[in-house]
Symmetry: C2
Subunit: 363 residues, 2 copies
């Protein structure tokens, strides 16, 4: 099969949880496009993981359905990434690099990859929530940025709200001339689950905070060390991305107030297990917060918000009336409220599982 103008070469880096969920989607899309009129020939030509890669240097398609197995059989030593990318740039057609890793080194290479004309699609938050300099560098190299027409395209929809249409909705509001005044929501499946359990609307069965964290961990709703969720950094990274798309020059995810739910005394615990053992000592603080919210007919939720005209971003606990859509959230759902000039007092709301791969209950 010679390459034609309708041939698109796809290189996938990272075949872990996200990658394993992605490959069947790519297979589905590839079959659909091959039957379109005119057909598009979507060819997987690279699958790479930390210690091996399978690269079709002749530009013939790898077998998507079998690629994980074929990758296991590879015995050659791993080519350096840079060399692989340089070779990709010589492909006889358009190339899309799909980054399913959370590798900051690869993220730092996006500007140079884009400038070689390679497009990048990724759920990796790192590049977009690091320094503002890296953000600017990426978009000045991209054909869909401020950038050069010869650059590749960059797409990162699932860096916020996973499969939910969050970034696309924000972009459409801005591109059609609406003015976004405020964005507010629950951006973490873990935090959603924790607080929907800790303080359900209408009162009821919420346990002590430490018990809810332990339960969430047992159910697979937290990172292996729950502090990686409770420090708020994951939410801060998502808010950084949204705020930048809304036009704010946010320097980094630590350049605005982020409330950590890790008691100071437990920051230095040697392990997540030790942390969970000692967390009950601090339940009193959360019980107080709960009681004071209940007195006002409110519940506590862990939210991120962006005041666009005021150029203020913050992440942390807030109280919401029981009738507020953020209070009524269920399970581990995300919710994002866009307040705009056009929509008036009732926001445009996008809500649902912030689901990543099939293997995890949320993203």
């Amino acid at each position: 099969m010679p390459a034609t103008p309708q041939t698109i070469f796809v290189a996938v880096i990272g075949v872990g949880g996200v990658g394993k969920a992605f490959l069947p989607q790519l297979h589905h899309l590839s079959q659909r496009l091959s039957q379109a009129n005119p057909p598009t020939d979507l060819r997987l030509i690279l699958a790479r993981r930390s210690n091996k890669q399978l690269f079709s240097e002749s530009w013939q398609p790898l077998n998507i359905a079998n690629v994980l197995h074929d990758l296991d059989q590879v015995t050659q030593p791993l080519l350096p990434l840079q060399e692989t990318i340089d070779y990709l740039a010589t492909a006889p057609g358009k190339v899309i690099l799909v980054d399913n890793t959370s590798d900051p080194t690869l993220a730092n290479s996006y500007p140079s990859i884009l400038r070689k004309g390679i497009s990048v699609v990724t759920p990796n938050k790192k590049a977009f929530s690091d320094t503002y300099a890296l953000w600017s560098d990426i978009f000045s190299g991209a054909a869909n940025g401020t950038g050069s027409a010869s650059g590749g395209y960059i797409f990162h929809e699932s860096t916020v709200g996973a499969g939910l249409p969050v970034l696309s909705t924000l972009k459409e509001l801005l591109e059609t001339g609406d003015e976004v005044t405020k964005i507010e929501g629950v951006f973490s499946g873990t935090m959603s689950f924790l607080f929907n359990s800790f303080m359900p609307v209408g009162g009821g069965s919420g346990g002590k905070f430490s018990a809810e964290v332990t339960k969430a961990k047992e159910l697979g709703f937290t990172e292996p060390d729950p502090r990686d969720d409770l420090n708020g950094l994951d939410v801060a990274r998502k808010l950084t991305i949204l705020a930048r798309l809304a036009g704010l020059e946010i320097e980094s995810p630590t350049s605005f107030p982020v409330e950590s739910l890790i008691p100071k005394e437990l920051e230095t615990c040697a392990s997540g297990d030790e942390f969970l053992q000692r967390l009950p000592d601090f339940d009193g603080q959360m019980e107080e917060l709960k009681a004071s919210a209940a007195k006002e007919g409110k519940v506590i939720r862990f939210v991120g918000s962006i005041d666009v005209p005021g150029q203020k971003v913050k992440v942390g606990l807030e109280k919401f009336h029981a009738s507020h859509p953020i209070a009524a959230l269920k399970g581990s759902d995300n919710i994002i409220n866009f307040y705009t000039k056009r929509y008036g007092s009732n926001p445009l709301i996008v809500q649902g599982a912030g689901a990543g791969g099939k293997s995890r209950p949320w993203g």
Copy 2:
């Protein structure tokens, strides 16, 4: 200014409520694209209303900011639409026809317009909710349909949920291989407003049904004759479009059960005013429904739903528990719940004003 490969010619038909809201958006987009790298030259070359048109037959851009005024000054007789479209097809570049009317004749011409290579963008529900034959004919002529690569593109996002990302969300779910099992929601700002007032969550101040209809009309939340909302046809048209996109071959908006809220005895009233005068005689039926729902801790809402695997569509009154997102809707907001295999028991929800032009509070 000679036309270049980056020139796109835009023809706007209909400059009423929707058109007047659209022109400033086009102006905004045109300015933004002219500053992009490389710039795109988006040229308005036709503005047409029922009795006049302004056509730049030399392909030079009309002044968008002043086009309504300039159109008023036109004194020539109106060219037949077909002749105008034939001439548009000779433009030295890509042409987009924006149909801001609700004209069924124009809607019926979409297949032939698309086959001339002209793209069509429209909020006009008529073409997409008429016969299945017209639907098939449109998409077999479109480059983004089942169709010919030489055809134009067809975009009709705002035919359902107005500015809310509804059709794009459904398409993305399907294109990435998710399976949609059910779609359910409130698709009419009028019906939303009526039932949120008639039976608010938590009981309270809802008046008699006829009084709520009169209030909604006075506030501008209904068509001039409220029966045009109460017959359910507007919702049935939207459900027809969604169901077809989900893969069901729905013959027409009258080929599935649609509950009309117009008492049989009042279908033949000579005017909307007579209808409103006689509607109180039928309040008893709605009060009974309200009481029976309240007994179950539920509220009544006017919804449309699509059971995708069961191939069933219906429109009408349903009861919802107070904790259901459809019950908690506010004002005249729309809400659309997508239940899919990937999202599991908690749906992906899109919610907010189904707002069309600025002049009307909803769409």
